[in-house]
Point group: C2
Chain length 399, copies 2
């Protein structure tokens, strides 16, 4: 006899990506596979100063149990950070701190999703969102996107058809798509939320990572232009891509009734997010260190994105199509089959490993009807020379 | 129209204790209500040194994404810590790091519990366990305890009757009961696990907090004496009560198949526990700072427990009965009604607040059939003079 597990576990499987990641240990591999920032970008000195201040100022606050909603000075700093990006009417009490934005997804699943309920996500979308929501028993429906983000007419049809508990979007520098929801579509999404009384979840871990011009305002920042939309809007933010994933600091802005339920669920999930990390992040933000950190990160990733785009055009030519990213961490590309070349990105990934370069094929990012010609390349963690060498290897894999 | 929440939320309610905690802000209140360690005990200098070392030695390890299973140097330190307490055959790979031991409970719920499944818990037990398991839809069954812990004959009957997915026990300095499962019963619990192929969860946040003699070995340490029992045993540990709750470092030892499922679920819960906190804890343990910290904490809490016991006997006399604690954070007491005095601890709690002392009535700690004469007093956070003054106020509340 053996252990009986809950049936919800049958809804997920160990991801294909995880299997691929096991191959990354192979010596000499250049990896474009990760979804993480470059460790070399971390402001270690600033973080050291912040934790030192936190432990000096209020050691009890940094080391004792804390409120489930979050460490109040951090909530206020995060509200201020959001205000600086155009969000109106948000105080510290309007958000909760989460253990990375992954936990915000988990709490949304726990509060809103169950067997028989539906969630609409973009096709493609963040893989861990698909798995997280499926663990709560939800049916997932895929809304098609193009370079301007989710196709709003189609989204409206799907909302009417499926009456979802929530619609999950990454409007800015989408993962994996890199797509940017246009300003016009952002307003229409908010109007849809009100019209159909449907909850929209805006996941925004990448919005600060723009290279030149800032992206359109977030749905949250735009919500005051669409009366009633704030009642149907959740916004998830994160310090992981811009400061440090290891702190596990995310946050969630939500309508009060939902926020209260999510806090109750968090109480029984992990009681609260590490106050040690929260107090450190609060002192980091309070010290005014973020603008300089963001400037460095944007400049570095901008150069790398440019190098990757140029190399792809040079080495792979018409065999691949992609939109040059204006921010985020990823190039999302499609094998065209031009010149009779490979169209299956899964097969390309296998060949590429043999050539010494790794990336993630696109299929697992779709909850339905995967486009197997797609793949995702991260330009975040390799320097420009390595990027050029890696893309050259990719070119050889396709030859 | 308003948001539709998942039905699982109907299984829990905001706790009575939480409502009581709101009253604690009243000026001059002496609180015996908390379940937390004294902030004055935190080894701030040692933790500062540990985080400093972590950021110097391997800043990427402390600030980057990490493995869901945990930061490997911490897993190895924790395995060593468990070995030092008599656990055999445990390597770093045999445990996962969790975001506080609360998350271990959540992951057990997620992997094992669902509507229609049953979990057996002690009556009384940790309140957040009851709520956490109910959120996953499980039916809870209460196993009676006495001063020597869970009554094993009764437990066996309940196992046979309910075929539970798991049996949750706090064998050492139980919360709230303070009860200590005897060595003989520990062995019988392990034998029951094998005989009935039933998973036993040993939650052990307090085992290191003994005052004089160490408690009997943990179920995990004893498991090598009962062949096959390790296959049916989960052990949850925590640094929260002995080092710092704010780090949110817990861990779970479990059979490999269950550990793998829990790791998969954790991937979609919070990706991993803060590497910043994990690397700090790893360096703290590696620096050999824990034995001195434990010695200080044990001596301090031991003095406070003694002061509280003496004051209770002096101020409340025959109106209250309790076993003098030999460790942990709590006195668990029962109103006897002697001399025609109050027997309802909920009413006493209300009166006590007016007298300027707070504690938690026992009823919410029972998943069924609450004993309303019980209450829990924490001796951890007040000094001896305050303890005496608080207990005197308690005496006046009962008069």
């Amino acid at each position: 006899m053996s252990l009986s597990f809950a049936k919800r576990l049958d809804n997920v499987e160990t991801s294909a990506i995880r299997e691929l990641f096991k191959l990354l240990g192979k010596p000499g591999i250049i990896s474009f596979a990760g979804g993480f920032p470059d460790s070399a970008m971390f402001d270690v000195a600033g973080i050291r100063q912040a934790v030192d201040t936190a432990l000096s100022d209020e050691p009890g606050g940094a080391l004792q149990y804390g409120a489930t909603e979050g460490y109040q000075p951090l909530r206020e700093q995060l509200a201020g950070f959001m205000q600086s990006k155009g969000v109106q009417g948000l105080a510290g009490d309007g958000l909760m701190v989460t253990t990375g934005s992954q936990q915000a997804l988990d709490l949304l699943g726990k509060t809103l999703l169950e067997p028989g309920s539906t969630a609409i996500v973009e096709g493609p979308t963040f893989l861990a969102t698909i798995q997280c929501f499926r663990l709560y028993g939800a049916d997932l429906v895929s809304a098609p996107i193009d370079d301007a983000g989710v196709q709003v007419d189609r989204l409206e049809q799907l909302i009417v058809q499926h009456r979802p508990r929530l619609v999950y979007l990454i409007p800015t520098f989408g993962n994996p798509s890199g797509a940017m929801l246009s300003l016009e579509r952002r307003k229409r999404v908010l109007e849809l939320a009100v019209k159909h009384q449907t909850l929209i979840v805006e996941d925004d871990p990448y919005g600060d990572l723009y290279f030149d011009a800032p992206p359109p305002p977030s749905l949250l920042a735009l919500s005051h232009q669409v009366p009633g939309s704030r009642d149907w809007l959740v916004h998830c933010g994160s310090l992981s891509k811009v400061l440090s994933p290891g702190l596990r600091i995310g946050w969630m802005v939500a309508p009060p009734a939902l926020l209260a339920k999510a806090v109750m669920c968090k109480q029984f999930s992990d009681a609260h997010t590490s106050t040690f990390a929260q107090a450190t992040a609060a002192r980091y933000l309070a010290a005014g260190l973020m603008p300089a950190t963001l400037a460095t990160v944007r400049a570095t990733y901008g150069r790398r994105a440019l190098a990757m785009g140029q190399a792809l055009r040079q080495e792979l030519g018409a065999a691949v199509e992609f939109v040059q990213p204006q921010g985020g961490l990823f190039v999302w590309a499609r094998l065209t089959g031009a010149g009779g070349k490979l169209r299956d990105a899964g097969e390309l990934a296998q060949r590429a490993i043999e050539q010494g370069v790794a990336f993630v094929p696109g299929a697992p990012f779709y909850c339905a009807d995967p486009d197997r010609s797609t793949f995702r390349l991260s330009f975040a963690t390799a320097g420009e020379d390595l990027i050029r060498e890696g893309v050259a290897r990719l070119g050889r894999s396709l030859a």
